[in-house]
């Protein structure tokens, strides 16, 4: 009995050695990763993402009727002061749901780069400064911005009443009577629009704001399903960890060298973590304001705005319980590290999303990498970067790796 068990162990050990030797000789030498690195690579893979976390602040987030209504609203240019701007004007589906411009262009020009909405259901914070804390409240910001959609709450409520009454009322109940309301009134409009808004009763203001909020919750339901599919990098990780068909998803030696730099000397992994390749946090990386632009304090201002925000998780328009608003309750409210800190963008499909930086300061990936390599001081606050001292070859390899993160964008089918 004893010797039989011993033979089995010897056989198993020999078999393991043979298999290991086989993998070693067939895989490219650069594809051998330590167990720790493999764990990290798995954590970056899109397969690790799973479904997006629930959004308890929006009870319509998973409702297919809200997805369908939100999709139509997303493309509707009537939701603007000049009838020409929709969400899709700056978040173009054919361009990664962004616009490729240094600064967003709605009815005017914004002060920052349009962020993509792909994969944002995984983030607790929205905009470069995190001044909103849900997809639905994010969607409301541009609608009331004077330089984006430029419209007001009564204007948007009347668009819903005229274009979407049946769909809206099936989901949210009866629309309020809007017949006697001013065409354009809202708390964030121009002086005349603000005055008209102030003249309305609390009850009317509340009922109109609820329609406005429900527009945001519908658009968010549509946006929630917009995410990334597997890239070459993800397929590479899958073959490493499953040891199946390694040739199908081989990365070039430069790309693998770039990946090693990403995890190691490049220190990219410090902020670009998790399957969306972002920590969804705020960092000062010393990116200067555009020439002539007003100083942008980033998260330092954004955190005050989200805490005071009418549409935050703890507010009366949120569907969440207080205990479900942990991100806001335990938010870092102050500190020098928030000054000129901006949200880490996802690196998925990054090569397709030039220009880079919170105000499109860098035209190419090479310029971004050069910035990280030099690590200039911040004009305000303190940059977290230190010079990387990478060679031109290493920078090229890092860029080659970043290009392996290109993959499909998945858009949910709406009825």
């Amino acid at each position: 009995m004893r010797s039989g068990r011993m033979s089995a162990i010897v056989f198993a050990a020999t078999a393991a050695l043979v298999v290991t030797g086989f993998v070693r000789t067939t895989a490219h030498s650069s594809d051998v990763w330590s167990g720790e690195d493999l764990g990290t690579l798995r954590s970056l893979s899109i397969r690790a993402a799973g479904p997006p976390p629930p959004d308890p602040s929006n009870r319509f987030a998973e409702d297919p009727r809200a997805v369908a209504l939100g999709k139509r609203l997303f493309f509707d240019t009537r939701l603007s002061s000049n009838g020409k701007v929709a969400c899709a004007t700056c978040h173009l589906p054919a361009r990664e749901f962004q616009d490729g411009l240094p600064l967003g262009r709605g009815v005017g020009v914004t002060g920052r780069r349009t962020m993509t909405i792909v994969g944002t259901a995984y983030s607790p914070w929205f905009f470069w400064d995190g001044r909103m804390d849900s997809q639905w409240s994010q969607a409301l910001g541009p609608l009331e911005s004077a330089v984006e959609h430029g419209g007001t709450r009564t204007l948007y409520a009347s668009v819903v009443a005229q274009g979407y009454r049946r769909e809206y009322e099936q989901l949210f109940g009866a629309l309020p009577s809007l017949a006697s309301l001013p065409r354009s009134a809202g708390p964030n409009g121009n002086a005349a629009e603000r005055e008209s808004w102030a003249a309305l009763s609390d009850t009317i203001r509340d009922s109109v704001t609820r329609v406005f909020v429900n527009i945001g919750k519908s658009i968010a339901a549509f946006e929630r399903g917009i995410t990334y599919g597997p890239s070459r990098f993800d397929k590479y990780v899958a073959t490493l960890t499953n040891a199946t068909n390694p040739a199908a998803a081989r990365l070039s030696s430069d790309e693998v060298a770039g990946l090693r730099l990403f995890l190691g000397r490049g220190q990219c992994i410090r902020c670009h973590t998790g399957p969306m390749l972002t920590d969804n946090l705020f960092h000062n990386v010393g990116v200067a304001d555009r020439v002539g632009a007003n100083p942008d304090s980033g998260r330092a201002t954004g955190v005050r705005q989200v805490i005071a925000g009418e549409f935050n998780c703890l507010g009366r328009f949120s569907d969440a319980k207080k205990s479900e608003c942990g991100e806001l309750t335990f938010v870092v409210k102050d500190g020098a590290e928030l000054v000129q800190a901006f949200r880490t963008p996802s690196l998925r499909n990054i090569a397709r999303r030039s220009p880079y930086g919170h105000a499109g300061q860098f035209a190419t990936l090479a310029r971004v990498l050069d910035h990280y390599n030099r690590a200039p001081s911040a004009s305000a606050g303190h940059s977290e970067l230190e010079p990387l001292r990478l060679t031109p070859t290493q920078l090229r390899q890092l860029e080659a790796f970043l290009r392996t993160l290109d993959g499909p964008v998945i858009v949910p089918a709406a009825r």
């Binding site: 902020c271 973590t273 998790g274 942990g326 335990f330 938010v331």
Partner: protein
Amino acid sequence: MRSRPIASLATFATTSCVIALCIAATDAPRRVPVVPCTIQESWNREVVAENSRNYAPSRLTDGGKYRVTIRPPDDRVPMRTLHSWILHVEDMKGAAVDSATICIDGGMPEHGHGLPTRPAVTEALHNGDFRVDGMKFSMSGWWVVKLTIDGPPGPDSIRFNLKLP
């Protein structure tokens, strides 16, 4: 004439409430209100050799006044997810400390930054247990969690080390 009885009623109600609260407080079964408290370390870059870091989850405080045990959920710290911890605090005789003001902060000394959230002790439970909400770790590596504790044995502090995979 009308305001006087209302004012008396309000005074009576307030007094009753205060008395009721005092009774409730003295009768409360060792559960104490949590005093809001934060500490903010400046997480300057610091190099500490790996082999000189103590990763034990149950340790004595620096001044030896308490034994503190940290209990992340399922003894495993989740990554990039908001979660809660239980802290267990005992005095040097091994008796549970139920009444203490505890502040918590954390950071990555090697990287010179703090936690991405500002966690807090939100509930004093029985038997020396305290609930901490708002814990979140943004990346793998060496983290330090600092606690200051002020209970009947006096003020003391401790820095726990965590190695997150």
